[in-house]
Amino acid sequence: MRLFWQEMQKIWRPGILAALVVLGVLFYFLRPKFWIELIPKTQNFDNSLMLVERYGPVLTAEIRPELDAIYEEIKENFNLEVKKIPGAAEIGITDLESYWAVDRSGEIYEVNVELFAKLWRLSMPANDFRLITGKYDGRMDGTFGIRNSPHLASYAPQAQTRIIELEERELRTKAVSFMDHAVPWYTSDWGRYLVIWTVLSVTLLLSPTLVRDRIRRTIAMQWTSRRGRRAVRTQTAAALASALLLALINLIVYFAILAQQGSLPLWNCPIYCGDGGIPWFDWTYGQFILMLIGMNFAFALAAGGLAVFLSQFSTNYVPMLLKAIPVFLVVGLVIANWALSDPFLIQKSHYRGADNPKGIELVCVLLLLAVSLGSCVWMCSRQQQREAP
């Protein structure tokens, strides 16, 4: 065990950690920050938080009439506030109905841009809230949905079955998620960038693991004893433990940022929201986040295992970097980027083309893990027979 902690000490070097902190901050400000901060800006975000707190994660037929009462309150508020706006009454806007009548004609914009902006801002809560009830009513009477549209034929048979199943279940239970589809969408970006950063940081941290011993010529000395021969097992264990630990640290930081956006109260809302993407699995928002967290650890192990395995073939830091760069590009920028773009949805919006087979992301990650951990096991087992370099 003492050897394990010594190896951990060799991996967690202050210089590399400082560089990782600087790179991590730069990475966050350049990429994920923009997408993560879009979560609370999604449509009806505040309304959905309020409704979830009051009624639970789904809108049902029993709750539906109560929403009309809330809408009336919002309307009343508009009617009161609009009287305080100078110039509104002059163009015939005294309540919400009259505002919409003028808005539809497009006259306000031509008359007064500033007034239009004020009225538009004031009408936003009512507009947004009407979307919730309107969407629910439309889905219950069959106006929305894919199953009766010609668009259904463009999906693969398995996907068609899934779409019909989801839409029919919705009609049967008359329950619809309060959450806007963009919330899991942007949360998947949070997960995607977390994983990409984890892959990069783990690769940078672990690539030098076995190279240092070669540079310092300690291998020949170690291998003269039987116990020393087994050092590579401890080194690999320490490296994989470090990968998980670094993934955990990254996760804590990113989770704190996600929690700050205020979307966690939607934890029990189903991620299927009708519009947006169609998920293969009946997950809630919380389960979706847990899946992203699982992916973070899986990719950390995969990248860590590959980095350590490849570093044994490097005599110094430069050949090691020449291997670490492709590891990051392939595992982080290609596989993780693809797997976590709209993960486990029938179609990935950034990748136009055929449907995404059910669970393909999981298969990919498991394959990657098998290759990575299999390489590590093979490296440890053949260590006994190898000649000292």
Partner: protein
């Protein structure tokens, strides 16, 4: 010279380097495969240019009207639309209105007087260029028709940028390998014990720079061999880059303040001479990054730490430049647009007026020359310091 040869030999004996270069080449081929649709349209346009020439005049239009009908109704509709456009085509550069452009930028950059005055001076120069190009009728060149902007976007924003990035990475890693070689092989103490031995690091820096150049050129030759096997350039070598069909190139840019502007090069570039100029400047930029790595490598004395320092330097400078652009902080953005990282990012506008990205004529050339001097001078100073310090093992 013999020392230089030994250094090159050390580098050539690293299999990982060649494997990495092969992977880069493979990646470039994948990029070419991914852009086959654009390539197909480019080749069709190029075939028309071979048949009818580049300048859109009465003969060109008459020839175009007699082209065989297209295979599909959609394509035929596109061909008819293009013929209609060609009949009405006029010299857009003759209509170039520099006054409105100057006013637009003056308002836009009003928060930073220095940026505004530099931009104003540049636009005046660009107006002279537009006048000259209008006299030559460069905007009336067909290039490859409506696909020109998109195709050049693919070539200069995706393909060439990938090539340049790979060249820079290879240069940086070659330099680090050579500078760290003696320490890794425990020969540093022996070599540094004599004055002549200490000079070896100067040879290493030279070997690193030449190796970076050679690797970049090797990648360029092999990648462009694959490129020209797919893309038919026979009709476009002499096409003017200022062709009005090339205006759409800036729609490929990630920076959208001024994506619809004419392609106004500072010299009368044809497609061929422009490609050559871009490749040459790319080589110089690869050398700049290699020299900057030499400074870090000599001062830090550890390849991994130097690589991390170099990565942080590149990303941090690029991040500040990009953020200042996004925030509209032009007083910061203007000097930072003279950084190598920002130059690397802007391959799409090299040798042109560059819109909001560039503040002086030939900014990319000036920036590269400036950083070559800074990089070279910095390396010389770092080596001087190294010669006076104790050896660290």
């Amino acid at each position: 010279m013999s020392l230089l040869k030994y250094e090159w030999r050390k580098l050539a004996g690293m299999p990982a380097l060649w494997a990495f270069a092969a992977m880069c080449l493979l990646f470039n081929c994948v990029l070419l495969y991914a852009t086959l649709w654009t390539c197909r349209d480019f080749n069709e346009g190029s075939a028309i240019a071979v048949q009818l020439g580049q300048r859109v005049d009465a003969d060109f239009i008459a020839g175009f009207a007699q082209l065989p009908p297209a295979d599909t109704p959609e394509k035929q509709a596109e061909q008819d639309k293009l013929l209609d456009f060609l009949r009405k085509m006029d010299d857009t550069l003759a209509r170039y209105d520099s006054a409105s452009v100057r006013q637009e930028y003056a308002e836009f950059l009003s928060v930073s007087p220095l940026s505004a005055s530099l931009m104003d001076w540049k636009i005046q120069r660009a107006a002279l260029r537009a006048e000259h190009l209008a006299q030559t009728g460069a905007a009336m060149d067909f290039f490859v028709g409506p696909i020109t902007g998109q195709a050049n976007g693919v070539i200069y924003k995706i393909f060439f940028k990938a090539l340049l990035s790979e060249g820079i990475m290879l240069g940086i890693l070659s330099m680090l390998f050579l500078l760290d070689y003696e320490r890794n092989n425990r020969t540093a103490a022996a070599v540094c014990s004599s004055r002549v031995g200490r000079k070896l690091w100067r040879t290493k820096a030279l070997a690193g720079v030449t190796a970076a150049l050679a690797l970049y050129l090797l990648l360029v030759i092999l990648s462009f061999t694959a490129f020209f096997a797919l893309w038919n350039w026979s009709g476009v070598w002499n096409a003017s880059m200022a062709s009005q069909f090339n205006t759409g190139i800036f729609n490929q840019s990630d920076f959208n303040y001024d994506s619809c502007r004419p392609f106004l090069p500072w010299a009368d570039f044809t497609a061929g001479s422009y490609l050559l100029a871009i490749i040459t400047l790319g080589a110089a930029l690869a050398v700049v990054f290699t020299l900057l790595t030499a400074i870090f490598g000599v001062l830090i004395g550890n390849a991994y730490a130097s690589a991390l320092a170099m990565v942080i330097f590149i990303i941090a400078s690029w991040a500040i430049w990009y953020t200042s652009y996004m925030q509209g902080c032009w007083a910061v953005f203007t000097p930072l647009s003279f950084l190598p990282a920002s130059l690397w990012d802007q391959t799409l506008g090299w040798f042109t007026d560059g819109g909001i990205m560039y503040f002086i004529p030939w900014q990319e050339t000036v920036t590269t020359a400036l950083w070559l001097i800074l990089g070279g001078g910095g390396t010389a100073l770092a080596l001087r310091r190294f010669n006076r310090k104790d050896v660290r093992i």
